[in-house]
């Protein structure tokens, strides 16, 4: 029964793209792969954790898939260290990944000089979305361009009887809000010293405290029904004009599209509140479980190549809502939010990874636990600060 590699380059790919929009995107890659001569065998598993767990267990059970989706984060670092992944150095070299891929992503997929994953896309998590209708109703004329603007806008929305911040009260969504605050209120330097360097001094600094305060302040703009809410239900509030703003990743566009709303007309998107707010990169990638079977290795390499071809990149990301990983794609056919994102990406100094790129899953989780507790309880800022400090200590 075990799917032993056969001479034909049959490639079983585990991924978690299961919703309608994601499926369409996945299908695009599959089609491209097939066109390139591969045989795509689809193993979709809903839920990122779940899908990764399956992949890992299949590797352990000596029945690995040809490729498995991971995030472009430290998630697969352990696998690499255990020698469980094949590298795709050949492809990376021949395709010149070093040149076309953004730095934060390269830092993750390149481990000790070897390339262990092929990135697929860039999601930006900390977009500020707003309902034009709601803004109009609240009398907000212009898109907030500073943090203070934003708070002012939120206050106005509140005054107009509109839910200022459409928020899904789940820990990961709170982390997104936090990252948005850290990036926009704290700025890139603070962001990196806290998240990347885990610098105790920075964490205990007054500036970081301000970030936390701002983060907590956001909570006051949510409605009582927010805890536990799914992000799409929050987006629905935006769509219906019941709420004014949401901080969420670019996948939100799928919901707007489903409700036949158009970017720039019905809703607006703000990537950052300052001209140099970091663009927090997150994305998906495929890793290649270790195998010595040459045809499987070929299949893996083929996938690595296909995924990064510009046309695939463009079409895939259009469907997925993200932006292409390579900077050399013509994005004129994409929506204005994506285009804005691509524009920002051109500025290398604004490319910064999300926390998962820098933190181990474990540290990241601990951070998330503290943030959500802080968000939802009356935890004093100092305590949150202290807890974060100790969670990010080694």
């Amino acid at each position: 029964q075990t799917a032993k590699p056969v001479p034909v380059e049959k490639a079983e790919i585990i991924h978690w793209w299961t919703s309608n929009s994601e499926s369409a995107a996945a299908k695009l890659i599959a089609d491209a792969y097939r066109k390139a001569g591969g045989i795509w065998v689809d193993s979709a598993v809903a839920g990122a954790d779940q899908a990764r767990a399956v992949a890992i267990n299949r590797i352990v059970g000596s029945n690995p898939p040809t490729a498995a989706q991971f995030n472009t984060t430290k998630q697969f670092l352990d696998l690499v260290e255990q020698g469980m992944l094949n590298n795709v150095d050949d492809v990376a070299k021949s395709e010149g990944w070093e040149k076309i891929l953004p730095e934060p992503v390269l830092n993750v997929i390149r481990i000790k000089g070897h390339y262990y994953a092929v990135p697929v896309n860039i999601h930006m998590q900390t977009w500020f979305w707003y309902s034009k209708a709601a803004f109009k109703k609240a009398g907000i004329a212009k898109e907030p361009a500073t943090v203070d603007d934003m708070f002012a806008a939120l206050d106005k929305l509140k005054a107009a009887g509109i839910i200022p911040l459409a928020h899904g009260g789940q820990a990961w969504q709170e982390t997104i809000v936090f990252q948005a605050m850290l990036a926009n209120v704290g700025g890139k330097e603070l962001y990196l010293s806290v998240i990347r360097d885990r610098d105790q001094k920075a964490i205990n600094s007054e500036a970081f405290k301000k970030v936390l305060t701002a983060f907590k302040r956001m909570q006051a703009y949510t409605d009582p029904g927010s805890p536990g809410r799914n992000w799409n239900d929050a987006t629905a509030l935006l769509i219906s004009g019941k709420a004014g703003m949401q901080i969420m990743g670019d996948w939100v566009k799928g919901e707007f599209a489903a409700a036949k709303q158009v970017a720039g007309k019905d809703y607006g998107c703000i990537a950052g509140l300052t001209p140099n707010s970091p663009y927090l990169i997150q994305g998906d990638a495929f890793v290649f479980p270790r195998t010595t079977n040459p045809s499987t290795v070929n299949a893996q390499k083929l996938l690595a190549k296909v995924v990064l071809t510009p046309s695939t990149q463009l079409e895939f990301n259009k469907l997925k809502g993200s932006i292409p990983i390579r900077s050399d794609v013509d994005t004129s056919t994409m929506d204005i939010c994506a285009q804005a994102g691509m524009a920002i990406m051109k500025d290398k100094s604004r490319q910064v990874g999300i926390s998962e790129i820098f933190l181990t899953p474990d540290q990241n989780g601990a951070l998330q636990d503290i943030l959500t507790a802080f968000w939802n309880t009356r935890m004093p800022v100092e305590k949150a600060q202290k807890s974060i400090a100790s969670a990010l200590k080694d």
Binding site: S21, A26, A44, N57, S240
Partner: protein, 307 residues
């Protein structure tokens, strides 16, 4: 013969006299109370189903805007057809029907074998009481408290080492392992209420271990077997994680597809399709529940002993 079946025993009694029984007023009040309780409980139980059903026939727009209790404004079965035959679960958009036969193939052996083993264990434990078996049982009971996910990793390794990983026998074996504590407990405790003398009589009659089990004990187990089937079939049918990890690509159960339809982190969500898919998936256990009634027989050991 038929006296054992409730349909022949209890029901005629009940149906013969209601018109007379009404005369006693204490009786009807009690009845009233019973029905009041049952009906209010039923309403409580049915409320979520109502929401699921109405949601499944609403359009996404209506769900997004409307009240969850509201009746659908435009009734549409589209979600059901999508759920059944065209929802995407990855690049394949064939709905949840694809895994149906897999689920059946997994569920049948994974229901029968664990129940058989559970009954066998219970029987051996409560009638034969072999030395040391109770210690074993104790360990098993403690083991029932381990979250099964913790055991996945070692089990994957074990199964891989005996070449059963990612196969139908493998997933059946895994279900057998995980259901063993509860199934054993279920039968062991049930058998402890059967008069021991019956077992003794069968031993005098020369019955061996297997004979007594098959011919005497199993026929007396119908009510508990029904409960066991309800539990085990539901458990296996609704299992997701084990099927996902152990069954292998070719045998993925329906629930994997169901989860793929329902569960998404960053994709769009189709609540109406989710609800339809959930209800569709649960139809098999639901049918079982409905038809199981006739095996909930009364007084299966009646007339066996006096005392």
């Amino acid at each position: 013969m038929s006296a054992i079946l409730p349909s022949a025993n209890a029901v005629p009694n009940a149906s013969q006299k209601p018109q007379r029984r009404v005369r006693s007023k204490g009786f009807s009040f009690a009845r009233l109370g019973i029905y009041a309780f049952l009906i209010s409980a039923a309403i409580f139980f049915l409320l979520p189903l109502y929401i699921m059903l109405t949601t499944s026939v609403k359009s996404m727009d209506e769900i997004r805007m409307g009240n969850i209790f509201a009746l659908p404004q435009q009734f549409s079965l589209e979600a059901w057809t999508i759920a059944w035959s065209s929802a995407c679960t990855g690049i394949d958009c064939e709905g949840i029907r694809g895994g149906f036969m897999n689920s059946v193939a997994i569920a049948i052996p994974s229901t029968l074998i664990p129940i058989f083993l559970g009954a066998l264990n219970g029987y051996a434990l409560s009638f034969w009481r072999p030395r040391g078996a109770n210690i074993l049982f104790g360990i098993l009971m403690v083991g029932a408290f381990i979250p099964l996910q913790v055991m996945i990793f070692p089990l994957v390794r074990i199964l891989a080492s005996i070449d059963l990983y990612s196969s139908l026998p493998g997933i059946v074996l895994v279900h057998t392992v995980f259901s063993m504590p509860v199934m054993t407990l279920l039968f062991r405790n049930y058998y402890s209420t059967i008069p021991h003398e019956l077992f003794q009589a069968a031993r005098i009659d020369g019955g061996g271990f297997i004979r007594i089990f098959v011919q005497l004990v199993l026929p007396m187990s119908t009510p508990i077997i029904v409960v066991a089937v309800i539990m085990q079939l539901t458990g296996v049918w609704n299992d997701y994680i084990l099927g996902l990890v152990f069954a292998g690509r070719e045998h993925l159960p329906m629930t994997v597809q169901l989860n793929n339809v329902i569960n998404t982190t960053t994709g769009t969500r189709m609540y109406n399709v989710n609800m339809a898919a959930t209800i569709l998936t649960s139809l098999v256990p639901l049918t079982l529940y409905f038809v199981s009634g006739r095996w909930f027989v009364r007084g299966i050991a009646a007339g066996a002993v006096k005392g």
